[in-house]
Point group: C2
Chain length 319, copies 2
């Protein structure tokens, strides 16, 4: 009996969990991220997600060998500590997610990793990146995250590598949530889009975006709202896509000129929704900016989609 | 008797050779790169450089264990082939530098590497980069070259990594010699400066640069001409320095945000000449663009200066 491993991807809105046995996903579950702002509630929700998913897999709790957690923010992987996960209420400061979750689960070993890192590990070991030893994962969602696999191993630098979303596209370009200007995610992330949309609407640009948002009963411009507007060929939405592809193309070409990777896997909430047509546009912007054009990197859509982070977290925990 | 290793750095204007014994440089020599356009002349000049430097070291030819060559252009390190070294007359196409030089030297093993790669190996193993396992070498000269050491090893990607000079700074910025626009080296390399200077002079900008060039009896705006003009606080020359530091700061911040390196070593003909004040300016442009500011990379001047490439080539050949 080999036992099972749980992987949990802790996001700003949801907690996605998977159970892995013999390298296969045997159960999944999803819960809402607590909004109370109390770290203990987040830990309890993670523990409940793990327990419930193991039950759904039809295995007993004592078969659970280890848990991997992917979390936003900076992660001290040795200590299992998450620092500054700004969009998870309660995790804005410093929380010992690993030790706390481990004791909530009766001592099961817990491994904590950055969510973008976990996702690229997921795609590399169980998804679109499997044929490659050197690849970049690009997660286009709320912001833009990145994860690097070099020579088959996750590249963490001194712990802060992979901040693809804050590679500079335009020196004094659009304001970014990080306080700087011209960062990739100001052009290619959902929050950057929302900011830009509201600004342009205020300036009088016509768009169906806010109408679609209202029709959906939402107060946020979600990926779904943008996807719908793009289907309707809303001018502003299409322009945002063009600009996002332009910015991503520039950054991916620069990364490729520096690292000469084999493959780039593109996923994330917005990336998955926009799909292959968006990838084609990104490749169209990237290719003319490659220094060596003979052998461009394969640019592939995510295969694991919103399970990438949870699967990768489980892999990092040995699953 | 351990024997000696020769390292040769083949540049567009000069051939720099060193002899290494017991990890120390025991002789150096410098010769002009042949202008005939015949590959055989380049090989003969490399062989002569190696032989003469060994003689200068006072060792007999049969003590020469191996030769390392750093060359511009794309290098197939397995075959010892140099492709498209545009600024070395005779090496514009494909030349089997390794095999040809080896047979010119009576069968001594020859290792060929890209010159930017060789230089970062030199600084990492024998220069400013010695305390670090993860560093970027930035060579600001005719163009801008880059070399990466990751986990103590030279990072070549699939053979074309390190093209830092063609990382995009401005999407539709200055024209680059590579045919694209907005590349780093259009702002921070000597040829980019020369192009920009001539354009601005044509547009009527006042500068002492062309005068200094004439006074030196040159028809090119060399690093020395720029260094002199900067000493005189020539407005145009100082503006070029500011813009070069700005462009380098942006690119180095982006690389750091992606890779989270320990150190960045800056050298090259122009970089060495501009020295610490320029480095301080680059750091000033880089720092505010770092995503994690707590622990910035060490930014250091080259220690080996114009010997970095030759020393690194020798190291790659086992010296």
């Amino acid at each position: 009996m080999t036992g099972v491993t749980v992987g949990v991807d802790l996001g700003g809105t949801k907690i996605q969990a998977v159970v892995i046995r013999d390298q296969a996903v045997v159960a999944t579950s999803r819960a809402r991220t607590p909004r109370s702002g109390d770290p203990a509630d987040v830990i309890a929700a993670l523990a409940a997600s793990a327990t419930r998913t193991v039950e759904e897999a039809g295995v007993s709790a004592d078969e659970l060998g280890a848990v991997g957690v992917g979390a936003p923010g900076a992660v001290d992987v040795v200590a299992g500590v998450v620092v500054g996960a700004a969009n998870v209420p309660g995790l804005e400061d410093r929380v010992e997610v690993g030790p706390l979750l481990s004791s909530a689960l009766g001592g099961v070993p817990v491994v904590v990793a950055n969510d973008a890192d976990a996702s690229v590990v997921g795609e590399h070991r169980r998804g679109a990146g499997m044929p490659y030893r050197n690849l970049l994962g690009v997660w286009v969602g709320t912001g833009v995250g990145g994860g690097l696999i070099l020579e088959g191993e996750l590249w963490r630098g001194r712990g802060a590598a992979g901040e693809l979303g804050h590679v500079v596209v335009e020196a004094d370009g659009r304001p970014c949530t990080c306080g700087r200007r011209g960062c990739l995610e100001a052009y290619s992330g959902r929050v950057g889009w929302e900011r830009r949309t509201r600004k342009l609407v205020k300036e009088g640009q016509k768009t169906r975006l806010l109408k679609i948002m209202e029709e959906r009963g939402s107060d946020r411009l979600t990926s779904g709202v943008y996807a719908r507007a793009i289907e309707e060929r809303d001018h502003l939405a299409c322009k945002l896509v063009d600009e996002a592809a332009w910015a991503l193309g520039i950054v991916l070409a620069s990364v490729q000129n520096l690292l000469d990777l084999e493959a780039i896997v593109v996923g994330g909430g917005l990336g998955d929704r926009l799909g292959q047509p968006f990838l084609d546009q990104v490749v169209g912007e990237m290719t003319p900016r490659l220094f060596v054009r003979r052998d461009p990197p394969a640019v592939l859509p995510s295969e694991l989609h919103d399970l990438a982070g949870a699967v990768g977290a489980a892999v990092l925990a040995g699953g």
